[in-house]
């Protein structure tokens, strides 16, 4: 259960959304610049909204009215950014296990490496990974951080269809197998149809009922 009620302004852009979803995978769709990434940033605690309330599975993460704002590192949110944001000074393996080490989690690394086809890259540095390779490492890093919620911002945009066909079912299973709900930003109606139990459509900072 995700409950979002937010108002925030970024210069000329105004975000004003209120929605909730009990789906295991909730898709966030909408044109470029609609405010999807801004919503994820607010949920992850990277921006403090001007007004509003965010709760995930009953846990209040942000409640501006009561002054409760959980710091980002205590939110247990696995965020796959639109840009990969890998740590350039660490190997792929260190990147993958960064969140895992913080969480003291014991999630086995091997299956994720397998799923994402990262076996040959573990010792490499992020700088010279290909676009799709970097994106896969970013997904693995978020998965291994033992999150209570996954935020995926167009996670498969640079990933080829064969690999995508492996990852999608895995993501679909995740809420049930590991109890991790997913909020998923995508432009692909195909992906959304395959994955999402609910679709929230955003346009120009507002929720639009289609």
């Amino acid at each position: 259960m995700i409950e979002i009620d937010l108002s925030h302004r970024l210069d000329a852009f105004r975000l004003d959304v209120k929605f909730s979803s009990t789906a295991q995978v909730t898709a966030l769709s909408g044109p470029s610049g609609a405010g999807k990434t801004t919503i994820l940033n607010a949920i992850a605690g990277l921006i403090r909204p001007e007004r509003g309330r965010i709760s995930v599975s009953g846990r209040v993460l942000t409640d501006i009215a009561s002054g409760r704002v959980v710091p980002r590192h205590k939110r247990r949110i696995g965020y796959v950014f639109q840009d990969a944001r890998l740590f350039p000074h660490m190997s792929v393996l260190s990147n993958l296990t960064y969140g895992r080490r913080r969480a003291g989690a014991s999630t086995p690394v091997e299956p994720v490496v397998e799923l994402l086809g990262l076996g040959d890259l573990l010792k490499r540095k992020p700088r010279n990974l290909s676009g799709g390779e970097a994106q896969r490492v970013a997904i693995g890093r978020a998965l291994l951080a033992d999150p209570a919620l996954l935020l995926l911002d167009e996670p498969l945009s640079s990933i080829d269809e064969a690999r995508r066909a492996e990852i999608l079912p895995f993501l679909k299973k995740l809420p049930e197998s590991a109890g991790v709900p997913i909020l998923y930003v995508s432009h692909s109606t195909d992906e959304i149809a395959k994955l999402a139990g609910a679709v929230i459509h955003i346009e120009a900072g507002k929720v639009v009922t289609k």
């Binding site: 605690g45 205590k74 965020y79 540095k125």
Partner: protein
């Protein structure tokens, strides 16, 4: 020809002392330098400009003045000096530790600027990412900000070390010039320049100082390249 380069014991002592003083000054000012650089780069507190000005002071004042101010505060009868002596039995007076303090103070602005520049260049989005992965601000600092600032930390240390090797005005004013205890290479060079006909002796020591710093620079460039490769910056 080579005899000319053979150092007298006092000169060997001055060289060793200079290295010890410069290394101590650099190492001990590094943690403080990083902290101050971080505050200046990221802090938004009242008095930030004041701190900034204070850090730059040793650059702006003639070294002799800085040395005199050190004497006033860290000398036997200075407030800080008296405190340290009474409570810890520790004294900078006429000791090589005082020379290191003077060198460290003089080199501090150079170190801080370089580190600050690197911290300011760190991509905050990476720090955000580390935060979402469960790293608290301190862990973010040590696992992301600091490693990505290593180029500046290295550059700052090199500048500080070089400056500490060359520092003289503040050192001689603060702890004077005692062979074997506070007579560093520059003090020895200075003495030569004050004697008619001392140029040859000064030149020899100057060449030694140059050799030392060339070696130090080569070592630092080697490490910098290694770091670049580790950070995959190029």
């Amino acid at each position: 020809m080579f005899d000319w380069f053979r150092l007298e014991p006092a000169e060997v002592a001055a060289l060793q002392l200079s290295l010890k003083v410069a290394a101590t000054a650099t190492l001990f000012s590094l943690p403080l330098g990083i902290a101050v650089a971080y505050l200046l780069a990221r802090g938004r507190f009242w008095g930030r400009s004041l701190l900034n000005a204070l850090v730059h002071l040793p650059l702006v004042l003639p070294p002799v003045v800085t040395g005199y101010l050190l004497l006033l505060s860290f000398g036997k009868r200075g407030p800080v000096g008296a405190f340290l002596y009474d409570w810890f039995g520790f004294s900078f007076s006429f000791r090589w530790t005082g020379a290191a303090l003077a060198a460290g103070v003089m080199a501090f602005p150079l170190m801080v600027r370089a580190i600050r520049l690197s911290i300011e260049a760190v991509d905050r989005r990476l720090e955000d990412a580390a935060g979402t992965l469960g790293a608290n601000p301190l862990v973010v600092f040590f696992t992301v900000t600091l490693p990505l600032s290593v180029p500046g930390i290295l550059a700052g240390s090199v500048l500080a070390f070089a400056k500490a090797i060359g520092e003289f005005g503040a050192t001689i004013t603060f702890v004077s010039n005692i062979p074997g205890e506070t007579q560093t290479l520059p003090s020895a060079i200075y003495t030569f320049t004050q004697v008619p006909g001392g140029d040859a002796g000064a030149l020899r020591l100057v060449l030694i100082a140059i050799a030392v710093s060339v070696v130090a620079l080569l070592v630092s460039e080697y490490f910098a390249r290694k770091v670049d490769r580790r950070l995959d910056l190029q």
